[in-house]
């Protein structure tokens, strides 16, 4: 059933899933000044697609689909976009002392994600966020068997990274 969406409901849903915006923008945008542009684009696309959102389905899965699609598309065009600085007052996502609250493990994982291919970054994010194989397959559009195989490989990559950087990772 498609949502009879009002902007209030939209804002409440976006607000309660704001972490997705932060994580996707951090994983797909190396330049902090470009992250706000990306978040803005994601919100525009979310708002446009909101009338077709099926309330019986998970909002986070739907939001991840749109956010990842916009982020990957944005990544492809990033090189030809003009660079500009966004003032703190104009930021959509205001972060209060995020860096102080990021654990070493999370930092290592973000670094690991940044080195991956765009589609694998999406898989890694969804895996870390605890989505089931079925949900990941729905977001990415690949089979559950394929998801399982890829997650098996991701686990090895994480474990390799842990064994390399293990000394510095304490959680």
């Amino acid at each position: 059933m498609a949502i009879k969406g009002g902007s209030d409901q939209f804002q409440i849903l976006i607000e309660s899933h704001r972490g997705i915006l932060y994580k996707v923008s951090k994983c797909y945008c190396s330049n902090p000044d470009d992250r706000d542009d990306l978040i803005q684009e994601v919100i525009v696309q979310l708002w446009r697609s909101f009338p077709t959102f099926d309330e019986s389905k998970s909002f986070s899965t739907w939001m991840y689909r749109i956010a990842l699609n916009v982020a990957i598309s944005n990544l492809r065009t990033e090189k030809v976009r003009s660079k500009h600085i966004v003032s703190a007052d104009d930021r959509i996502l205001e972060a209060v002392d995020v860096t102080a609250n990021v654990s070493e493990t999370a930092l290592m994982l973000y670094q690991l994600i940044e080195q991956m291919e765009p589609l694998n970054r999406a898989l890694m994010l969804l895996f870390l966020d605890g989505f089931s194989h079925r949900e990941i397959s729905e977001v990415l559009g690949i089979s559950e068997t394929n998801v399982a195989t890829k997650i098996g490989r991701l686990k090895k990559v994480i474990q390799q990274a842990l064994s390399t950087d293990g000394q510095g990772i304490r959680g």
Binding site: S7, Q11, I14, E15, R18, G19, L21, E41, I43, V44, Q45, W47, R48, T52, F53, W62, R65, I66, L68, N69, V70, I72, S73, N74, R76, T77, V80, R81, D90, I92, L93, E94, A95, V96, D97, V98, N101, V102, S103, T105, A106, L109, P118, L119, N120, A122, L128, D129, G130, V139, L140, G141, I142, N146, T149, K155, I158, G166, I169, G171
Partner: protein, 222 residues
């Protein structure tokens, strides 16, 4: 730390994250979000402008062909130009349609493959236009002179001049393509030229094809 510990740590991190980030709801609700530059929108606007200009050109060429319908030496170049512009427009229209019917809530691989295919089409279109445009120069000269200045190019310039013009334009295109290929890296301060240079040099096509391949490999479990 084991993998389970990593996942637990990420979960804890998510909880902390929600506490230290805040959305500026005022900005979200403001209409200023609407004109935000979506990844594909600048491309679409330029395509729509080009499409509109081409439609005007098609109309003018039809008018010209009707006016000089009894003089095949003018009608034939006008029809050749018309077919060329219609072909360009068909390609542009297809690109606009593809770009505007993207549903970002569809699965990631589906959308990314579609976007990559749009890029392939765009690059092929640019290269095709760049190569074929010089051939159209002589018909354009004949139609333009007659239509705008009432000058008969066959009499005023002569057939030899028109044929030479075609050769010179083709040679110029070849040299321009060569220069763009060789100096592609030096043209980085001019995004439009750099993009054209990358298209002509075949780099954009290779990148776009690599993106299609990347999605296919991902789909196949590679």
């Amino acid at each position: 730390m084991e993998l389970d510990g990593i996942l637990e740590s990420w979960k804890e991190q998510n909880e902390k994250l929600n506490a230290c980030i805040r959305l500026n709801l005022q900005l979200i609700s403001e209409s200023r979000l609407r004109p935000a530059k979506a990844a594909l929108r600048p491309l679409t606007f330029s395509l729509i402008f080009e499409l509109a200009m081409n439609i005007v050109a098609i109309g003018l060429l039809w008018l010209f062909s009707w006016t000089y319908r009894s003089q095949p030496q003018f009608v034939i170049p006008a029809i050749v130009l018309d077919i060329y512009v219609i072909a360009l427009n068909t390609q542009l229209f297809r690109q606009i349609l593809l770009a505007n019917t993207i549903d970002y809530s569809a699965p990631v691989t589906e959308i990314q493959e579609r976007l990559a295919r749009i890029s392939v089409e765009r690059v092929r279109g640019t290269v095709w236009t760049f190569i074929s445009a010089p051939v159209m120069w002589s018909p354009l000269l004949i139609v333009g002179l007659k239509g705008c200045l009432r000058v008969d190019a066959y009499k005023a310039l002569g057939f030899t001049y028109l044929a030479a013009n075609l050769l010179v334009c083709s040679a110029f295109t070849y040299v321009a393509a060569l220069l763009l290929k060789r100096n592609e890296a030096k043209l980085c301060s001019y995004p439009v030229i750099q993009r054209l240079a990358r298209d002509i040099a075949g780099k954009s096509l290779a990148t776009a094809k690599a993106r299609v391949a990347e999605v296919q490999v991902f789909l196949e479990g590679g």
